[in-house]
Symmetry: C2
Subunit: 138 residues, 2 copies
Amino acid sequence: MNTYLFSDLKEGMKESFTKEITLEMEKAFREISGDENPLHQDDEYAKEAGYKKHVSFGLLTASLYSTLAGMYLPGKHSLIHSMEIKFIRPVFVGDVLTVSGVVAGKQEDMKLLRLKVQIVNQDGVCVSKADMKVLVLK
Amino acid sequence: MNTYLFSDLKEGMKESFTKEITLEMEKAFREISGDENPLHQDDEYAKEAGYKKHVSFGLLTASLYSTLAGMYLPGKHSLIHSMEIKFIRPVFVGDVLTVSGVVAGKQEDMKLLRLKVQIVNQDGVCVSKADMKVLVLK
Protein backbone atom coordinates (compact mmCIF):
# COMPACT_ATOMS: atom_id res chain seq x y z
CA MET A 1 0.00 0.00 0.00
CA ASN A 2 1.37 3.39 -0.97
CA THR A 3 1.52 6.10 1.68
CA TYR A 4 1.80 9.32 -0.31
CA LEU A 5 1.25 12.52 1.64
CA PHE A 6 -0.65 15.38 -0.01
CA SER A 7 2.63 17.26 -0.40
CA ASP A 8 4.22 14.28 -2.24
CA LEU A 9 1.61 14.21 -5.00
CA LYS A 10 2.37 15.92 -8.31
CA GLU A 11 0.36 16.33 -11.47
CA GLY A 12 1.12 13.50 -13.89
CA MET A 13 1.94 10.83 -11.27
CA LYS A 14 0.51 7.46 -12.33
CA GLU A 15 -0.39 4.15 -10.73
CA SER A 16 -2.08 1.01 -12.03
CA PHE A 17 -2.95 -2.58 -11.17
CA THR A 18 -4.62 -5.55 -12.87
CA LYS A 19 -7.46 -7.78 -11.67
CA GLU A 20 -9.60 -10.51 -13.23
CA ILE A 21 -13.39 -10.42 -12.84
CA THR A 22 -14.68 -13.76 -11.50
CA LEU A 23 -18.10 -15.32 -10.97
CA GLU A 24 -17.34 -15.36 -7.23
CA MET A 25 -16.85 -11.59 -7.24
CA GLU A 26 -20.20 -11.17 -8.96
CA LYS A 27 -21.93 -13.46 -6.45
CA ALA A 28 -20.43 -11.54 -3.54
CA PHE A 29 -21.44 -8.20 -5.09
CA ARG A 30 -25.00 -9.54 -5.58
CA GLU A 31 -25.17 -10.52 -1.89
CA ILE A 32 -23.80 -7.16 -0.73
CA SER A 33 -26.04 -5.04 -2.90
CA GLY A 34 -29.16 -7.17 -3.21
CA ASP A 35 -29.17 -6.45 -6.96
CA GLU A 36 -30.71 -9.61 -8.48
CA ASN A 37 -31.13 -8.14 -11.96
CA PRO A 38 -31.09 -11.00 -14.54
CA LEU A 39 -28.83 -9.12 -16.99
CA HIS A 40 -26.06 -9.56 -14.39
CA GLN A 41 -26.48 -13.33 -13.90
CA ASP A 42 -28.57 -15.03 -16.62
CA ASP A 43 -26.61 -15.73 -19.83
CA GLU A 44 -29.72 -16.61 -21.87
CA TYR A 45 -31.51 -13.44 -20.80
CA ALA A 46 -28.42 -11.37 -21.62
CA LYS A 47 -28.15 -12.98 -25.08
CA GLU A 48 -31.74 -12.00 -25.82
CA ALA A 49 -30.75 -8.44 -24.85
CA GLY A 50 -27.86 -8.53 -27.35
CA TYR A 51 -24.88 -9.44 -25.13
CA LYS A 52 -22.63 -12.50 -25.55
CA LYS A 53 -23.34 -13.56 -21.93
CA HIS A 54 -24.36 -11.96 -18.63
CA VAL A 55 -22.87 -8.52 -18.08
CA SER A 56 -20.93 -7.77 -14.90
CA PHE A 57 -22.27 -5.07 -12.57
CA GLY A 58 -20.99 -1.60 -13.43
CA LEU A 59 -20.57 -0.82 -9.77
CA LEU A 60 -18.55 -4.00 -9.24
CA THR A 61 -16.10 -2.73 -11.85
CA ALA A 62 -16.23 0.67 -10.14
CA SER A 63 -15.26 -0.94 -6.81
CA LEU A 64 -11.77 -1.18 -8.35
CA TYR A 65 -11.62 2.63 -8.29
CA SER A 66 -11.85 2.31 -4.49
CA THR A 67 -8.75 0.12 -4.62
CA LEU A 68 -6.89 2.48 -6.93
CA ALA A 69 -7.39 5.36 -4.49
CA GLY A 70 -7.14 3.41 -1.21
CA MET A 71 -4.10 1.30 -2.10
CA TYR A 72 -2.17 3.12 -4.83
CA LEU A 73 -2.95 6.79 -5.47
CA PRO A 74 -2.67 8.24 -2.85
CA GLY A 75 -2.93 4.94 -0.90
CA LYS A 76 -3.21 4.84 2.89
CA HIS A 77 -4.30 8.46 3.48
CA SER A 78 -7.15 8.34 0.95
CA LEU A 79 -10.83 9.06 1.41
CA ILE A 80 -12.99 9.35 -1.72
CA HIS A 81 -14.89 12.64 -1.87
CA SER A 82 -16.81 12.37 -5.15
CA MET A 83 -16.64 10.81 -8.59
CA GLU A 84 -18.11 10.90 -12.06
CA ILE A 85 -18.14 7.47 -13.69
CA LYS A 86 -18.94 6.50 -17.26
CA PHE A 87 -19.62 2.85 -18.07
CA ILE A 88 -18.48 2.66 -21.69
CA ARG A 89 -18.44 -1.00 -22.70
CA PRO A 90 -19.72 -4.19 -21.02
CA VAL A 91 -17.48 -6.25 -18.72
CA PHE A 92 -17.77 -10.05 -18.51
CA VAL A 93 -16.52 -12.79 -16.18
CA GLY A 94 -12.96 -13.69 -17.18
CA ASP A 95 -12.08 -10.18 -18.31
CA VAL A 96 -8.70 -9.08 -17.01
CA LEU A 97 -8.99 -5.39 -16.18
CA THR A 98 -6.17 -2.90 -15.86
CA VAL A 99 -7.14 -0.01 -13.61
CA SER A 100 -5.01 3.09 -13.94
CA GLY A 101 -5.07 6.61 -12.63
CA VAL A 102 -3.13 9.81 -13.09
CA VAL A 103 -3.01 12.90 -10.89
CA ALA A 104 -4.86 15.61 -12.86
CA GLY A 105 -4.68 18.35 -10.25
CA LYS A 106 -4.75 19.35 -6.58
CA GLN A 107 -7.05 21.63 -4.62
CA GLU A 108 -4.77 22.83 -1.81
CA ASP A 109 -7.37 24.42 0.50
CA MET A 110 -9.26 21.15 1.03
CA LYS A 111 -6.36 18.71 0.41
CA LEU A 112 -8.31 17.32 -2.52
CA LEU A 113 -6.55 15.29 -5.16
CA ARG A 114 -8.12 15.16 -8.63
CA LEU A 115 -7.57 11.87 -10.46
CA LYS A 116 -8.40 10.79 -14.00
CA VAL A 117 -8.92 7.03 -13.90
CA GLN A 118 -9.84 4.37 -16.40
CA ILE A 119 -10.31 0.63 -16.73
CA VAL A 120 -9.12 -1.19 -19.86
CA ASN A 121 -9.79 -4.86 -20.62
CA GLN A 122 -7.43 -7.56 -21.97
CA ASP A 123 -8.24 -6.49 -25.55
CA GLY A 124 -7.18 -2.91 -24.91
CA VAL A 125 -10.79 -1.69 -24.86
CA CYS A 126 -11.63 1.05 -22.36
CA VAL A 127 -14.68 -0.19 -20.42
CA SER A 128 -15.00 2.66 -17.91
CA LYS A 129 -13.62 6.12 -17.18
CA ALA A 130 -13.97 8.32 -14.14
CA ASP A 131 -12.94 11.63 -12.65
CA MET A 132 -12.40 11.28 -8.90
CA LYS A 133 -11.80 13.73 -6.11
CA VAL A 134 -10.00 12.17 -3.17
CA LEU A 135 -9.40 13.76 0.20
CA VAL A 136 -5.81 13.14 1.33
CA LEU A 137 -5.87 12.96 5.12
CA LYS A 138 -2.17 13.73 5.72
CA MET B 1 -38.30 -6.64 -9.03
CA ASN B 2 -40.06 -3.89 -10.96
CA THR B 3 -40.35 -4.22 -14.73
CA TYR B 4 -41.03 -0.68 -15.90
CA LEU B 5 -40.73 -0.10 -19.65
CA PHE B 6 -39.21 3.17 -20.87
CA SER B 7 -42.67 4.33 -21.90
CA ASP B 8 -44.04 3.68 -18.37
CA LEU B 9 -41.58 6.02 -16.67
CA LYS B 10 -42.68 9.56 -15.84
CA GLU B 11 -40.85 12.46 -14.22
CA GLY B 12 -41.45 12.45 -10.47
CA MET B 13 -41.87 8.66 -10.06
CA LYS B 14 -40.15 7.49 -6.87
CA GLU B 15 -38.84 4.25 -5.39
CA SER B 16 -36.91 3.46 -2.22
CA PHE B 17 -35.65 0.61 -0.05
CA THR B 18 -33.77 0.21 3.23
CA LYS B 19 -30.66 -1.83 4.05
CA GLU B 20 -28.33 -2.16 7.03
CA ILE B 21 -24.56 -2.01 6.54
CA THR B 22 -22.87 -5.00 8.18
CA LEU B 23 -19.29 -6.06 8.89
CA GLU B 24 -19.86 -9.03 6.57
CA MET B 25 -20.73 -6.69 3.69
CA GLU B 26 -17.53 -4.76 4.31
CA LYS B 27 -15.45 -7.97 4.39
CA ALA B 28 -17.01 -9.14 1.13
CA PHE B 29 -16.40 -5.74 -0.50
CA ARG B 30 -12.77 -5.85 0.65
CA GLU B 31 -12.34 -9.29 -0.95
CA ILE B 32 -13.97 -8.18 -4.20
CA SER B 33 -12.07 -4.94 -4.56
CA GLY B 34 -8.77 -5.74 -2.87
CA ASP B 35 -8.99 -2.41 -1.03
CA GLU B 36 -7.22 -3.09 2.31
CA ASN B 37 -7.11 0.58 3.38
CA PRO B 38 -7.00 0.74 7.22
CA LEU B 39 -9.55 3.57 7.45
CA HIS B 40 -12.12 1.02 6.26
CA GLN B 41 -11.29 -1.70 8.82
CA ASP B 42 -9.19 -0.48 11.76
CA ASP B 43 -11.21 1.34 14.45
CA GLU B 44 -8.12 2.67 16.27
CA TYR B 45 -6.62 4.04 13.08
CA ALA B 46 -9.96 5.66 12.16
CA LYS B 47 -10.21 7.27 15.62
CA GLU B 48 -6.78 8.84 15.15
CA ALA B 49 -8.06 10.25 11.87
CA GLY B 50 -11.05 11.80 13.68
CA TYR B 51 -13.82 9.23 13.09
CA LYS B 52 -15.76 7.36 15.80
CA LYS B 53 -14.78 3.99 14.28
CA HIS B 54 -13.76 2.58 10.90
CA VAL B 55 -15.58 4.19 7.96
CA SER B 56 -17.43 2.03 5.47
CA PHE B 57 -16.25 2.08 1.83
CA GLY B 58 -17.94 4.80 -0.23
CA LEU B 59 -18.25 2.44 -3.14
CA LEU B 60 -19.91 -0.18 -0.93
CA THR B 61 -22.60 2.38 -0.12
CA ALA B 62 -22.73 3.22 -3.84
CA SER B 63 -23.37 -0.45 -4.68
CA LEU B 64 -26.88 0.23 -3.35
CA TYR B 65 -27.42 2.57 -6.32
CA SER B 66 -26.97 -0.52 -8.51
CA THR B 67 -29.84 -2.13 -6.59
CA LEU B 68 -32.04 0.96 -6.84
CA ALA B 69 -31.71 0.96 -10.64
CA GLY B 70 -31.61 -2.80 -11.21
CA MET B 71 -34.45 -3.80 -8.88
CA TYR B 72 -36.68 -0.73 -8.45
CA LEU B 73 -36.32 2.17 -10.90
CA PRO B 74 -36.62 1.04 -13.65
CA GLY B 75 -35.93 -2.52 -12.39
CA LYS B 76 -35.47 -5.46 -14.75
CA HIS B 77 -34.72 -3.51 -17.96
CA SER B 78 -32.00 -1.35 -16.39
CA LEU B 79 -28.39 -0.88 -17.42
CA ILE B 80 -26.44 1.93 -15.73
CA HIS B 81 -24.87 4.31 -18.27
CA SER B 82 -23.10 6.86 -16.04
CA MET B 83 -23.26 8.49 -12.64
CA GLU B 84 -21.98 11.38 -10.56
CA ILE B 85 -21.68 10.45 -6.89
CA LYS B 86 -20.96 12.66 -3.90
CA PHE B 87 -19.95 11.03 -0.60
CA ILE B 88 -21.23 13.58 1.90
CA ARG B 89 -20.96 12.03 5.35
CA PRO B 90 -19.29 8.86 6.68
CA VAL B 91 -21.20 5.57 6.90
CA PHE B 92 -20.52 3.03 9.67
CA VAL B 93 -21.37 -0.62 10.35
CA GLY B 94 -24.85 -0.78 11.86
CA ASP B 95 -26.14 2.23 9.90
CA VAL B 96 -29.56 1.58 8.39
CA LEU B 97 -29.60 3.29 5.03
CA THR B 98 -32.64 4.34 3.03
CA VAL B 99 -31.85 4.54 -0.66
CA SER B 100 -34.32 6.54 -2.72
CA GLY B 101 -34.54 7.76 -6.28
CA VAL B 102 -36.82 9.94 -8.35
CA VAL B 103 -37.13 10.20 -12.13
CA ALA B 104 -35.67 13.60 -13.04
CA GLY B 105 -36.01 13.32 -16.80
CA LYS B 106 -35.85 11.15 -19.90
CA GLN B 107 -33.72 11.32 -23.03
CA GLU B 108 -35.97 9.70 -25.63
CA ASP B 109 -33.44 9.19 -28.46
CA MET B 110 -31.20 6.92 -26.36
CA LYS B 111 -33.87 5.53 -23.97
CA LEU B 112 -31.91 7.10 -21.13
CA LEU B 113 -33.58 7.66 -17.78
CA ARG B 114 -32.19 10.40 -15.55
CA LEU B 115 -32.47 9.67 -11.81
CA LYS B 116 -31.72 11.79 -8.78
CA VAL B 117 -30.82 9.41 -5.97
CA GLN B 118 -29.74 9.73 -2.38
CA ILE B 119 -28.92 7.67 0.69
CA VAL B 120 -30.07 8.78 4.15
CA ASN B 121 -29.06 7.12 7.42
CA GLN B 122 -31.20 6.21 10.45
CA ASP B 123 -30.69 9.72 11.88
CA GLY B 124 -32.05 11.40 8.76
CA VAL B 125 -28.59 12.50 7.63
CA CYS B 126 -27.92 12.39 3.90
CA VAL B 127 -24.67 10.44 3.46
CA SER B 128 -24.53 10.33 -0.35
CA LYS B 129 -26.21 11.82 -3.40
CA ALA B 130 -25.94 10.91 -7.05
CA ASP B 131 -27.23 11.74 -10.50
CA MET B 132 -27.55 8.60 -12.61
CA LYS B 133 -28.25 7.95 -16.24
CA VAL B 134 -29.75 4.52 -16.84
CA LEU B 135 -30.34 2.87 -20.19
CA VAL B 136 -33.79 1.25 -20.26
CA LEU B 137 -33.52 -1.77 -22.54
CA LYS B 138 -37.27 -2.10 -23.34
